[in-house]
């Protein structure tokens, strides 16, 4: 039986979409397709359970506000790619990982321990948003920052979907 035949069509459809979007945004899905399909199945399971795709390798609360940082792609993905060559669940990897420069093993969770215990709470233990330039002066538009990938957009409202990482509007914060 082929790898794709083991999974329902919706898993293969989402896999193809995620792969296409990842590549368009400069990201790479884990080339171990069997492993990756199992994670995609996990994302679909979580979407059915909670209404959103919580990280398959983290215990979700089932409340969107508490899980917002671990909805895939999570707020920790890009930092983990930088340091370990893979995100926490290993759905996304980079060249350091595919080339074997970084070991293929599970990595520590970057999510702050207080969030693991009680869910995401903002703005406590702000993840990486220190040093914002509030003193930049009046701007014609507010600047919105994607909390997943850091993409900035100067406009009245945040984009409906981040053009880089495809995170939805509710994952943007007012940056300036």
């Amino acid at each position: 039986m082929s790898q794709t035949a083991k999974y329902p069509p919706e898993v293969n459809t989402l896999y193809e979409r995620l792969k296409r979007e990842a590549e368009a945004g400069g990201y790479t899905l884990n080339p171990d397709k069997e492993f990756t399909l199992s994670l995609v199945q996990g994302l679909i399971d979580n979407e059915k359970r909670f209404g959103y795709m919580a990280c398959p390798c983290r215990l979700a609360y089932g409340e969107k506000d508490k899980d917002i940082d671990i909805i895939c792609p999570c707020y920790y993905r890009d930092q983990d790619l930088e340091e370990f060559g893979a995100c926490y669940c290993c759905l996304y990897v980079n060249e350091d990982w595919t080339s074997g420069r970084k070991p293929h093993k599970s990595i520590p969770d970057r999510r702050p321990p207080e969030f693991v215990l009680s869910g995401f709470s903002e703005p406590a233990a702000s993840i990486e948003t220190t040093g914002t330039s509030k003193s930049i002066g009046p701007l014609p538009y507010p600047v919105w920052r994607c909390k997943v990938c850091g993409y900035l957009a100067a406009r009245n409202e945040p984009p409906g979907v981040c053009p880089v990482c495809k995170a939805k509007k509710d994952r943007f914060e007012r940056f300036i």
Binding site: S38, N46, C57, K105
Partner: protein, 92 residues
């Protein structure tokens, strides 16, 4: 807690796995135990509800304060995350 028992010929250790049904690393851990014919008990904490879930998460945190998955207990040793080398060493 409602553990699932997996019989195996390699039963010289007491092996307990706390896992998530959706997690790739948990799956790899199970596959490693299966490949070694290890006898073990596992529970999918994400599929637990109410009181059982509270007990299961408390048990995980007692073994692994980060509360991450997989959390594997082999006799008195705890392996947090998928660490094939360490697991094989403890099962030897």
């Amino acid at each position: 807690m409602n553990f699932t028992h997996v019989p195996g010929t390699n039963n010289k250790h007491k092996v307990t796995l706390y896992a998530l049904s959706t997690c790739g690393w948990c799956r790899k851990t199970k596959e490693l135990l299966d490949s070694q014919n290890v006898e073990y008990d596992y529970i999918y904490v994400d599929q637990c509800q109410g009181e059982e879930r509270t007990r299961a998460t408390a048990a995980v945190r007692e073994l692994n304060p980060r509360g991450s998955f997989p959390t594997l207990k082999i006799d008195d040793e705890v392996v947090a995350g998928f660490d094939e080398e360490r697991i094989l060493e403890l099962l030897a």
